[in-house]
């Protein structure tokens, strides 16, 4: 089974939608060394995460290497309703990207 790259959970709390998401990504800083070879491990990290609801960008995150491995991100916004779709996508410094969506529950 392919590993899911983004997991999203969105829930309505009153009139505010609370979104929690986990991305699977190594978030390599470029400072670490490979113990066997002594060579630096090149940086590999998510640069940007875009969270959308009905075509509106509710959150655009710009990240550096200081965000932890397998990043967790949570935020809240108004104007959503149960059953709405939330789309989250990221792209990293190697040009890789992933997109996932979830329904607000």
């Amino acid at each position: 089974m392919a590993k899911k790259k983004i997991r999203i959970r969105a829930k309505m709390k009153g009139d505010i939608a609370e979104v929690k998401t986990l991305m699977s990504h190594p978030m390599e800083t470029g400072f670490r060394k490979n113990k066997k070879t002594g060579k630096k491990i090149p940086p590999h990290f998510i640069k940007e995460v875009v969270c959308e609801h009905k075509g509106n960008k509710v959150l655009v995150a710009s990240w550096g290497v200081a965000v932890s491995k397998n990043p967790y991100l949570s935020f809240k916004f108004k104007g959503a309703a149960k059953g709405d779709t939330i789309t989250i996508s990221w792209n990293d410094n190697k040009g890789e990207s992933a997109t996932a969506d979830a329904k607000v529950g």
């Binding site: 505010i16 640069k47 940007e48 960008k57 959150l59 710009s62 967790y72 935020f75 040009g95």
Partner: protein, 153 residues
């Protein structure tokens, strides 16, 4: 909605991102808009100036930083920033990291002043949250002690 001038690059790159996923652009063009100089900056002022165009911070009691007093593992420090202000953006800087700027969030009009994530900290340091609201910058600080450096203690 008042268009935010802040993080022009970020918003623009977000749009590029949409275009890219539609197959209109190459990923390289998307990456070009990421605030590279801000993330590469070695000093807080340098990072702020490059990212937000100002280094004037007003301390605010209306910013809450939720982070552990003592972080056992500097590789995973959970942080939550919240504010009652109408925030246009929330940025997190870690004073003693090689590059202080850890992450920056541009918020949409309906987004609450709240973000939660996990960051890496090289050593005991101040965590600085900078919030842009109404064209001004507000900040709050919290010191987090990191017990494990790199050796597992």
């Amino acid at each position: 909605m008042k268009r935010r001038t802040f993080l022009k690059g970020t918003v623009a790159s977000g749009m590029l991102g949409v275009a890219a996923s539609a197959g209109l652009l190459t990923p390289r063009m998307v990456l070009a808009a990421w605030p590279e100089t801000a993330f590469a900056a070695k000093g807080i002022d340098e990072a702020l100036d490059s990212l937000l165009g100002s280094t004037t911070l007003a301390e605010s009691g209306d910013i809450k930083i939720k982070a552990p007093e003592i972080a056992e593992n500097g590789a995973v420090v959970p942080i939550t920033i919240s504010t009652g202000m109408t925030a246009e953006s929330i940025s997190v800087l870690i004073a003693k990291n090689p590059s202080p700027l850890a992450c920056s969030f541009a918020l949409g009009g309906s987004t609450q002043g709240f973000v939660s994530t996990r960051v890496k900290m090289g050593e005991t340091s101040d965590l600085i949250a900078v919030i842009k609201s109404g064209g001004k910058l507000y900040s709050a600080k919290k010191t987090v002690k990191v017990t494990i450096g790199g050796c597992g203690g």
